[in-house]
């Protein structure tokens, strides 16, 4: 059984795909979600092997969402689209599998056949955005999309990954690794990333240092990362 998740903002489209997938006993639809943030949560929680992702979704597109997933735990991805010519061209150029809405039964069979043969996720880097513009977050039940430029620093603790702006601290499903690779945030500690443009002061201490952000928050800097951080600002 291949576990899969359907991600699409249109309820009827989800239902329709769900109905179609139900014909294929080798697949089990374990969840549906209507936007990227929900999807990130469910992917972390349910760890599906395959996801069907609609490209046109509110705030964070399907492509952007996949770029946010940690490559280490990345499921196999099948994009679904109605008319995004640009994306379709990219898929064809790199021979990625995609489905056109309304989904043709035969085409779906071919896709499932291919997935069964090779469940290993393929490198999607070629078609995915290199840099993220948004960070999907949530704060209790409230979903929120933060512009990546507003982030001062991010850190991980036992309860997960947190993103801090000058106004608030919210929770995200992005891993520090993804944030480090796909945003301008730089590593300053095993558990901390900081935005260089948010740094107001670097206070050197016995055991490393501390960064003071523009909004007055303190971010620890471990000795290991102090040097590269200083170099970033031209100190040697």
């Amino acid at each position: 059984m291949i576990t899969c998740l359907i991600i699409d903002d249109e309820p009827f489209a989800r239902d329709a795909l769900c109905d179609q997938l139900a014909q294929h006993t080798e697949l089990a639809v374990i969840g549906q979600c209507s936007n990227a943030i929900e999807a990130m949560q469910l992917i972390t929680k349910l760890k599906p092997q395959l996801i069907f992702v609609d490209i046109q979704m509110p705030k964070i597109t399907g492509l952007e969402m996949v770029a946010m997933l940690d490559p280490d735990t990345m499921p196999r991805v099948v994009f679904v689209t109605a008319y995004d010519e640009y994306a379709i061209k990219a898929f064809e150029n790199y021979a990625f599998d995609y489905l056109l809405k309304p989904v043709d039964e035969k085409r779906l069979q071919t896709t499932i056949h291919r997935v069964k043969k090779d469940l290993a996720p393929r490198s999607l880097e070629l078609i995915l955005p290199k840099q993220l513009e948004h960070v999907p977050c949530y704060c209790g039940n409230r979903l929120k999309v933060i512009n990546v430029d507003e982030v001062e620093f991010a850190f991980s603790d036992l309860s997960g990954i947190h993103v801090t702006t000058c106004l608030e601290q919210v929770h995200t499903h992005l891993t520090l690794k993804v944030l480090e690779e796909k945003t301008h945030l730089v590593r300053c500690h095993k558990q901390y990333l900081v935005a260089p443009n948010a740094i107001s002061e670097i206070l050197v201490q016995e055991n490393g240092a501390e960064v003071l952000t523009h909004s007055g928050k303190r971010v620890p800097v471990s000795r290991r990362f102090l040097k590269p951080l200083k170099q970033l600002f031209g100190f040697h």
């Binding site: 249109e10 009827f12 509110p58 109605a82 809405k101 309304p102």
Partner: protein
């Protein structure tokens, strides 16, 4: 008595010279009070000349000279102002002084004073804003009369011996007082007549030109054809009273009104060489019937005897001609020649404007077509996907959706680019929203709050629908939460105000992809093109809270004739 006659003779000589001057363009300068330096210099020379001449032609009387010098000094002062008057008087006075005699100093002083005081009167009149009074003969008479009285006084006071001067004054006072005053008054009355005639002529000319312009405005911009040309020709003949007026394009006669319209039939090809020449050479052709012969090329019995042909230009290309005719027994007035050229320019501009406007309209129509074409594929795909998605689970709803889709497409195809009623536009929107609501299910709420009383008002087709589509496509579809769109309408003063508000507040995000901003700008441009710049589309946006599109339209009810479509 004899002295009066002699002086009168002298005065007549002046008036003859003045009359001759009045036939030259120089005379025009008298007709306005001098304010600029070159003008004052001119006045100075002319009237100083008069003073000198007057002294020469003067009558030797008791070792003095009875003369009409005062006329020159006073007129110079009145027309030229105090400084000019003073200088005229001084020149005349110095010249008189050089002639000698026992009154030489007295005359020199008095003439200078006359010029200066007349100048002061002129200045005073200008100060109290009554400079027109300078041209009243009565005033000139009085000023000259007083000036001469003063001169007599100066002679009595200055010239020695007193007994001689008293004798002299007794003899010359009456003749000089009378002749100088009457002469100056007559001079001014000639100036005034000339001035009135000139003013009348130019005002008649401008009135005619303005009337033609006013009556013909907009006619040709609707198109340069037989119908519009006939209207314009009718206006020109009524206003100019020429024998006949014709308008042609490059090949044929479009309109002919007036003498000879029995054989100059609109629609027939151009037959006269002079018209052909005007078109080929792109210049005004004039056959006055005397130096350049003119004969009608169609009928030998035609009474038309002279013709003016002016090319009509649109950008530099000749697109036709306008022709003015006079019959053989009437002279072709110069004023009509100038007027004709002005009319041709006016018509050319109007035709050019018409073409420009037409192109502009074509452009908006083309853009509108583009808008329709652009919107449909995406919308259609989404609609079909929705239908495909629900057809298995809810066939009845699927059928209803297909009906809505058909309805939407039917309205879309049927629509012209003219005006439709708000009720029609709402029907279109309704069909559209039925499909979008099905697509987004519980994530889209639309509240249409337009009072039924507004349904009869008209607006350009595709005004509201593209804006609502924008609100969905670029607004609420980007929300996680439920999209709320409200459409409201109201009459404010003499405006029909329609508002489309969404709760996304994302304008102007996403406007650059697939030219979707075009929708809004076309709607705006069309409204402004149709109704004027005071109408159109305004946008108010508060980031992440709302976007409000406000449409301002004139109040046009369904009963009004739809002149715009």
């Amino acid at each position: 008595m004899q002295l009066i006659l002699l002086l009168t003779q002298q005065m007549c000589l002046y008036l003859v010279i003045v009359y001759l001057l009045s036939k030259t363009p120089l005379f025009k300068l008298f007709a306005e009070t001098a304010t600029r330096l070159p003008h004052k210099v001119y006045i100075y020379f002319i009237f100083s000349g008069f003073c000198v001449m007057a002294t020469y032609f003067g009558e030797q009387t008791n070792d003095a000279i009875a003369n009409t010098r005062a006329m020159g000094a006073v007129l110079g002062g009145l027309l030229g102002g105090p400084v000019t008057g003073f200088l005229v008087g001084l020149t005349g006075g110095l010249h008189r002084y050089s002639m000698g005699g026992f009154t030489d100093i007295a005359c020199a002083i008095s003439t200078t004073l006359e010029g200066l005081s007349a100048g002061m009167v002129g200045l005073y009149l200008r100060k109290i804003d009554k400079s027109e009074l300078v041209y009243t003969p009565m005033l000139v008479f009085l000023v000259t009369f007083s000036a001469e009285m003063m001169q007599m006084g100066v002679i009595l006071a200055v010239a020695k011996p007193y007994s001689d001067s008293l004798d002299l004054v007794k003899q010359i006072a009456l003749p000089m007082l009378l002749v100088n005053s009457v002469g100056a008054a007559l001079f001014m009355s000639m100036v005034r007549d000339q001035k009135t005639m000139f003013d009348k002529l130019s005002s008649a000319f401008s009135t005619k030109a303005l009337k033609i312009a006013e009556r013909s405005v907009g006619i040709l911009s609707r198109g340069f054809d037989q119908e519009s040309s006939t209207k314009v020709a009718q206006i020109i003949i009524e206003e100019t009273q020429v024998g006949a007026v014709a308008i042609t394009d490059r090949e044929k006669l479009l309109a002919f009104i007036g003498i000879g319209d029995d054989h100059h039939i609109p629609g027939t090809p151009i037959s006269s060489q002079i018209t052909q020449d005007a078109i080929d050479q792109n210049c005004v052709m004039f056959a006055d019937g005397v130096e350049t012969r003119y004969a009608c090329s169609i009928s030998s019995h035609c009474r038309l005897g002279s013709s003016l042909v002016i090319p009509l230009r649109c950008e530099s290309e000749v697109i036709g001609t306008i022709k003015l005719y006079e019959p053989k027994n009437k002279l072709f007035l110069n004023i009509n020649r100038t007027l004709g050229e002005g009319i041709a320019r006016l018509m050319s501009n109007q035709i050019l404007f018409g073409r420009y406007e037409q192109q502009q309209n074509l452009l908006t129509q083309a853009e509108l077509k583009l808008l329709q074409a652009q919107v449909n594929p995406h919308f259609l795909f989404n609609a079909l996907n929705t239908v495909a998605a629900i057809i298995g689970r809810d066939p009845i709803m699927a059928r209803q959706l297909i009906q809505h889709l058909a309805q939407f497409l039917r309205i879309n195809l049927k629509r012209t680019t003219g005006l439709v009623t708000l009720a029609d536009e709402l029907e279109h929107i309704d069909a559209y929203l039925m499909i979008e609501k099905a697509r987004f299910f519980d994530k889209l709420n639309v509240d249409i709050k337009i009072p039924p009383a507004l349904n009869q008002y008209k607006l350009p087709a595709f005004t509201l629908q593209p804006l609502i589509e924008n609100a969905v496509k670029h607004g609420t579809s980007h929300l996680f939460e439920t999209g709320e769109i409200s459409v409201s309408g109201a009459i404010e003063e003499d405006l029909l105000i329609l508002e489309v508000t969404d709760n996304a507040g994302l304008y102007p995000d996403n406007q650059d992809d697939d030219n979707s901003g075009l929708g809004m700008s076309i709607v705006h441009k069309r409204i402004q093109n149709l109704f004027g710049n005071e109408y159109g589309v305004d946008i108010a946006c508060e980031r992440d809270r709302f976007t409000k599109i406000i449409i301002k339209l004139p109040l046009i009810t369904a009963s009004q004739p739809d002149t715009l479509s």
